[in-house]
Symmetry: C2
């Protein structure tokens, strides 16, 4: 007889982990590194977007790069957990992918913009919402400038938005600082957050 | 300017971590190992007790071994965070030690019996309450028998009490299984729980 059987079951409820934070903070890289550290435990949700593909990005791996028409069809069919217009492009999270991942028993790692996180919170209140930060607002602005993938106007818009996004940290469960050159420390902290969640006595399965 | 300064401050609020669980589960060893893993970060609270010293134990290190009179004086002066009669012996946690430790900026690690944990929860609602378990009830009973530091009557009493204690797991925040021969895995899980607590956006300083 295992007195703790029900607890063991709860310990293995797959978790939904949302990595959010201001534009330019490094959400994509950190999410990727989490998967690389534990490929058997984590499932990475690929976001759908209408933004143009950047050099080095792979369709179906970094994002699903969709046309505006394709994206509109997913919205119509209610196939997206959330979607938003981000800097004139659409981004959204396909629901079915998350359901499949949870059914496979793995924890699900998702990148989500700050705006999107608020929407997902309403649908999945027991998700684990992590806000990724830079050390300071200045270092965030510097990172955005160094990215050089934008026009001057686009960059200014992005900086203004990022400043607003930082002020929404309080809507999240956890805050992790992605110190420049210490990326693995941020990854370690997020792994601790996930491991701790699996040890919680009170746990509810994630449903969509 | 650091937009996140207030968050940085919160991140460094010292935490009070209570390691509890049924008698025989290995609370003492796990608490010791936590300190050994991070001696600069953690402060170990030494419990006061009236039970006789066991072979290998050191006064002031494993416990403060007090006479009944000495213990009674501490109760009268309200110098104990909590105290309880455990198997005919008194055990209690000196308050001043915890205050000093928190003031030094370190996280405070405490062992506490299941009964005591409920008392501490009322005084320190924002402590981190960890329930340490064995894999099964049977393995706990086996560990208690192997201890051989008791009379048959004492052992039966302890087993009965341990069975009751296991049923109070739901009063705790976290449950960690101390698998036989995999002690470091339990220590790792508790370290993750502590690290995650320091990343929480909502944090309050512990006060006594």
């Amino acid at each position: 007889m295992t007195i703790d059987k029900s607890w063991y079951e709860r310990k293995h409820y797959p978790k939904l982990i949302l990595i959010s934070g201001p534009s330019g903070v490094g959400k994509d890289t950190i999410a990727r590194r989490l998967i690389e550290r534990r490929p058997d435990d984590f499932y990475f949700v690929v976001t759908a977007t209408t933004r143009p593909i950047r050099e080095g990005e792979v369709h179906g791996c970094d994002y699903f790069f969709l046309s505006n028409d394709e994206f509109a069809r997913m919205i119509e069919k209610n196939e997206l957990l959330e979607y938003a217009v981000v800097y004139n492009d659409y981004k959204g999270i396909p629901k079915q992918q998350i359901r499949d991942a949870l059914a496979s028993g793995r924890d699900v790692i998702m990148r989500v913009d700050v705006q999107g996180a608020a929407t997902v919170r309403k649908l999945v209140p027991n998700g684990i919402f992590v806000f990724l930060m830079t050390e300071t607002e200045e270092s965030l602005v510097r990172r955005l400038r160094e990215r050089k993938s934008e026009t001057a106007e686009g960059l200014n818009l992005r900086i203004a938005a990022a400043r607003q996004e930082i002020r929404r940290m309080d809507e999240f469960d956890y805050c992790v600082v992605n110190h420049e050159g210490q990326q693995e420390a941020a990854v370690d902290e997020i792994l601790s957050i996930i491991d701790a969640a699996h040890c919680r006595v009170e746990q509810e399965p994630v449903t969509l």
